[in-house]
């Protein structure tokens, strides 16, 4: 029970930080939803990183490396270390600028204004909101399960889920974006520091990792875990598309608008890859070590190998502290709840006149009521569908591809004058159709799915390798679905935009002003006057 008590203390601390943040706030929409665009560079880096980290990042990655080996790091972590900072650099900073300049708080506000459209914005709102919901449910489920596991069953699932939902709801309700950012900062520091400590302690308790590696190498069935044999080259290549999803997650895009200055992004883009390494390297390596310590676990059972290693190799107090760090990752649903709430109040309530009729104060309280509603519904679903967790796991996995495939829409909006709302609409419909189609194909081929280590199976033999079923996904000639989804989205965005009329000149001038940066004068100048100098 000691580890559970430590986790409760941690939850109390998190609650305090979140509620304390509300004392710093003002009762305006921009303050509640964006912390008045005032986050400094360190909080911005840690909060953004924490927002991006989920239970999957820590527990799922070690569970996956338990079966597929060290290649999981290159697959998930180093591809993210390359792609995510680039997207923050090129897209995040621009979103920040547009938010500061025109007051946008969400992606949809930007799309609606940029393409002079209402309906297309609503379609993108519906799509992005629908793909976000499973994350929130998974967060509540993960909280209940982790608390149950840490307390060794003394805190039942329903109670653990309720406690976690209540804590998250409370600090999001009171603290808004400032509370969420502070809590995420605290959580990021916690799981990076404690993850490193756990790595050292487990290694010491096991008598060093060298002999474990040699033992794994000596067994033919585990030797492959030390190499990347279990990850096909095509999968490795196409997985690079997945981190494009990061900047399209509403909670990440909204977080980009909270920085006080654009210089806050500098530290973030440089240190983001280092944070990824500090978190994922121990996570992936310990997943492989667990294959030596706890052989024979099935895919569903291997997600808790980190908890097993902690329990077996550290004392009770430390296991509790490290369990709290895992809890921190599981509770990543806070920023997703807040993002959904921001989207609802800005893209629906305010957009359809609610703010004008009832005022800004009512808008903030509507947002808070929405936080309570979403958390309650997520908890009830997590309770009712406890044994159907696989559905939400799958939904989250396919949502990653869906968000990644929306990246061309964002790129076109920011960089391509000629892009149109119709291009965005067709690309969004393509994304929705392919997410559902891939999910259907995956679900309907469970019976013919090969086992790990076996070759992929053709779903439609007449089409050759166009649709292949692997143990964990659908591939096309070996490439993950995310690749054709992204390329198709980009192609449709381009083709349909060329065939339809661009927005008015006034809008184009607003988003692509004819001005250039003159570093000598340290100011923006109309491009004509600069060229004359």
């Amino acid at each position: 029970m000691i580890p559970a008590l430590i986790v409760f203390i941690y939850l109390g601390l998190v609650l305090y930080i979140g509620i304390f943040a509300s004392r710093k706030g003002k009762n305006t929409g921009e303050d509640y939803f964006l912390a008045s665009r005032s986050l400094g560079s360190t909080v911005f880096l840690l909060a953004l990183f924490g927002t991006n980290m989920t239970a999957f990042s820590i527990l799922g990655a070690s569970g996956l490396s338990y079966h597929r080996g060290i290649g999981v790091y290159g697959l998930l972590a180093s591809s993210s270390a390359f792609v995510i900072p680039l997207t923050i650099f090129f897209i995040g900073t621009r979103l920040w600028r547009l938010g500061k300049r025109f007051g946008h708080m969400t992606q949809v506000q930007f799309f609606r204004d940029r393409w002079e459209c209402s309906f297309v914005g609503t379609v993108i709102f519906a799509l992005t909101a629908a793909m976000l919901v499973p994350y929130i449910i998974i967060g509540v489920m993960g909280g209940g399960q982790t608390l149950q596991a840490i307390s060794q069953g003394k805190v039942p699932y329903w109670c653990g889920g309720a406690i976690v939902a209540l804590v998250v709801m409370s600090y999001v309700f009171f603290g808004g974006m400032r509370g969420t950012a502070w809590v995420n900062t605290f959580q990021t520091l916690m799981f990076i520091c404690l993850g490193t400590i756990a790595f050292v302690l487990i290694g010491r308790n096991l008598g060093g990792f060298e002999q474990i590696i040699e033992r794994l190498a000596a067994q033919p069935e585990t030797a492959a875990l030390l190499t990347r044999q279990r990850i096909p080259l095509e999968e490795f290549f196409s997985y690079t598309f997945i981190p494009l999803s990061s900047i399209m997650f509403p909670h990440v895009a909204i977080m980009c608008m909270t920085a006080e200055k654009v210089t806050a992004f500098k530290k973030t883009v440089i240190f983001y890859p280092i944070c990824i390494m500090m978190l994922w390297l121990p996570s992936v390596f310990l997943g492989v070590v667990a294959a030596d310590q706890f052989p024979g676990l099935k895919p569903g059972q291997s997600d808790d190998v980190l908890l097993r290693l902690l329990t077996a190799n550290t004392d009770l107090v430390l296991a509790g502290v490290l369990g709290a760090a895992i809890m921190a990752a599981v509770m990543a649903s806070d920023s997703q709840i807040l993002a959904l709430c921001t989207m609802f109040t800005e893209d629906i309530f305010a957009y359809y006149g609610g703010k004008r009729r009832f005022g800004e104060k009512t808008q903030v309280w509507t947002g808070r009521a929405f936080v309570v509603g979403v958390t309650l519904v997520a908890y009830l679903i997590a309770l009712a569908l406890q044994d159907k967790e696989g559905i939400f796991d799958l939904a989250v996995r396919f949502a990653f591809s869906g968000y990644a495939a929306l990246a061309p829409v964002m790129l076109a909006a920011l960089f391509w004058k000629r892009s149109t709302k119709w291009g965005a609409l067709v690309a969004a419909l393509w994304v929705a159709a392919t997410v559902l189609g891939t999910w259907y194909l995956y679900d309907s081929t469970v019976a013919i799915a090969p086992k790990p280590g076996q070759p992929p199976v053709q779903i439609f033999p007449a089409l050759g390798n166009l649709f292949l079923r692997t143990p964990g996904s659908i591939t096309h000639f070996g490439y993950l679905s995310v690749m054709p989804m992204c390329l198709g989205s980009a192609l449709l965005m381009g083709m349909v935009s060329w065939l339809t009329s661009p927005p008015s000149q006034a809008t184009l001038d607003k988003y692509f002003p004819a001005e250039k940066w003159n570093p000598k004068a340290n100011e923006l100048q109309p491009s004509e006057s600069l060229s004359h100098k």
């Binding site: 929409g29 180093s78 390359f82 590696i213 030390l226 190499t227 990347r228 280092i274 390297l281």
Partner: protein, 81 residues
């Protein structure tokens, strides 16, 4: 010219991510316990950080700071205007 060089740098780092060497080897063990494939990608993460530092140094959009702020706060919420 600077843009081209920076683009080539980003492309080169991307190519280094798509490594096919050491795909089936685990030796040498870095620090005595890290399989080479894992150590390579840990090193790649540091390289990615260095790449971003170069981009920040030579391609930072300083003029973004000069963007005039909207007034009043939250004005864009109403009908996107």
């Amino acid at each position: 010219m600077r843009k081209l060089l920076l683009f080539l740098m980003v492309f080169a780092v991307y190519v280094l991510h798509q490594d096919f060497w050491w795909w089936r080897e685990y030796r040498p063990l870095v620090f005595g316990f890290l399989p080479i494939g894992l150590a390579y990608h840990a090193g790649f993460s540091i390289l990615a950080a260095m790449m971003m530092a170069v981009l920040v140094k030579f391609a930072w959009p300083e003029h973004f700071e000069k963007a005039p702020a909207h007034h009043p706060p939250g004005a864009a919420g109403e009908n996107g205007k």
